[in-house]
Amino acid sequence: MQITKAPSVRLATLACAVSLSTAALAETVTIGTVNNGDMIRMQALSSAFEEAHPDIDLEWVILEENVLRQRLTTDIAANSGQFDVMTIGMYETPIWGDNGWLEPMDNLPASYDVDDIFPSVRGGLSNDGTLYALPFYAESSMTYYRKDLFEDAGLDMPTEPTWDQMREFAVALHDPANEQYGICLRGKAGWGENMALVTTMVNAFGGSWFDMDWNAQLDGEAWHEAINFYVDILGNYGPPGASSNGFNENLALFNTGKCAMWIDATVAGSFVTDESQSQVADQVGFAAAPMQETSKGSGWLWAWALAIPVSSDAKDAAQEFVTWATSKEYSELVAQEYGIAAIPPGTRNSTYENQEYLDTAEFASMTLSQMQKADPNDQTLNDSPYTGVQFVAIPGFSGFGTVVGQQVSGALSGNVSVDQALRNANQVVNREMRRAGYQD
């Protein structure tokens, strides 16, 4: 008995040791990400990654955008190493890369085909020519409109409308008694909320945040025109409560058929045409983001990207994951599981060379042309000293951009005049620039 038992015991011990060592080898990759639809899908699909990489455990921290940003910034600046993969945007990436906080993305496998990624997106995620994050999805902005309402009213939406035309349409289609509003736009204060739209409007009206000497231009003519226009069109022909509407609120309004037009991120294309969440799925038309004096900078450029902080203790595993989640192979997986229209948009040429995608996703060609138009380095009519279409890629912008956003939302709700709001805003921005040493 004893003799026969011995080998099996030894085997068991061996098995035990083996399983222990694999457990010790399994690396945990903690991923901090934002609670957008595409990221939720990524989490759901990540079991495929874990199956292919049994030595990597994924741990998900999914937070609302503002909370996530605050959480990630404290973590990376304090070098505390809580996250191995961070979901960050085009605003943070070049600043953090410059600070030396992010691992450069230079050892990418050939199969990843980094050149397939749109040059503007790559540019926006680089600092001094070094790529610091891989884009998960990217977006510009465009106009969504209701084909049925336009047809009924005998109106015709041009492919590249101007703001003046938008106003005419909004006036014609505004019917608040029937809960149908002419136009829905972002109004909620925040540098990434109303200021994203407002800045593209200012660009289209020929303005910019700063002149070449970093003097704030918010009290200038272009801003006055743009903000007056914004307050008029959204205040008079928009939904009630516009000053607290952000992307999500407007999406909900549009999907329930309450907006005749809506200008927002191209990424909403797949949501407004998805029958399971949109009551108007088959009635949506697409046009460019409106221009006015110029079309430069009239549509924004943003990407949600995955980056690896230098403080990570599982960099190789993290890179495995990041390249998987932003690869062509991942896109195929999404197409298989959720349908081809659900592919994370706006990042790769190959997506838009796929005829099946172009056929299924009606919004794809407009997304593509908007993505190609947006250039974060040539975004204003007159020269400006900063990069970023709808933001200014300097550390203080998240603060003063939001304060300006509050002033604009104050003007929209009518409790300060546009003149007063812009004077306040200009003063705040100049103050911050002086404090940060951009001005003497």
Binding site: N66, Q70, T73, T74, A77, A78, I95, N99, G100, W101, E179, K188, A189, G190, P239, P240, G241, A242, S243, S244, A252, L253, T256, K258, P395, G396, F397, S398, G399, F400, T402, V403, G405, Q406, Q407, S409, G410, A411, L412, S413, N415, V416, A421, N424, Q427, V428, R431, R435
Partner: protein, 292 residues
Amino acid sequence: MSQINTNAGIAKILVAPSVILLALWMIVPLAMTIYFSTLNFNLMIPGGRDFIGFENYYWFFTDPSFIAGILNTLILVGSVLIITVGLGTLIAVLVDNPFPGRGLVRVLLISPFFIMPTVNALIWKNLLMHPVSGLFAWLFRQVGLEPIDWFTDLPMTSIVIIVSWQWLPFAILILMTAMQSMDQEQLEAARMDGAGPLSTFWHITLPHLSRPLVVVIMIETIFLLSIFAEIFTTTSGGPGNQTTNLAYLIYTQALLQFDVGMASAGGIIAVILANIVAVFLIRAVGKSLAEQ
């Protein structure tokens, strides 16, 4: 006698842990905060961190929203206190006498206090106060009124409603339980003397409630001074700076751009202001604390 002395000695030892812990909790972060408040310290800009004296304080004090921030803080604290204490007292008196289902009514009354502030704000903002799809908008339309655009037209009122809903149950709870220990004989005697309900309330009930009222006011003030989640979730301090209180101001001016120096200066200023409020409060209502 010696027993009492030893006990007094033991008392000192007993009080020590909480004092020492709180002292550490107070002093360590406070010292760090004071130190940081004199530095040019932005998390987004590594290196640097030069000593700049009181410059952060200068920028914080001269912020265009600073005065508004202080006023909004006081308005918010004041309105919520008046509403919760006033209504709380009335409701506590109302449910003091037995009636069918009193136990259940009490449970319903105190429930909102158990709700997380964020959840509270999200429910009110979306499900109830949404100007198009919210329940209130629908109710208004049912009776032929134009729906109120809560967060645009009445932003501060909306915040006050939301916060009051959270804290009213706390006031009810404390006052309701205090009511139970009322001296019934005294009440009966007053009634025999022909005192009406108002004068009974004024001369007997209210004095009896004075100490619980102090508890309610003190605790609520402490929490209301630093209300943040409700504003963050609903109005983001706007429109304009109509709902920017001090806590939110520190957030936008400092934490949003990760300026630790400014945030620290703002924190120190807020502590000083909070203590001033506290002193006033204690002068005004805290006598009963000193009396006995």
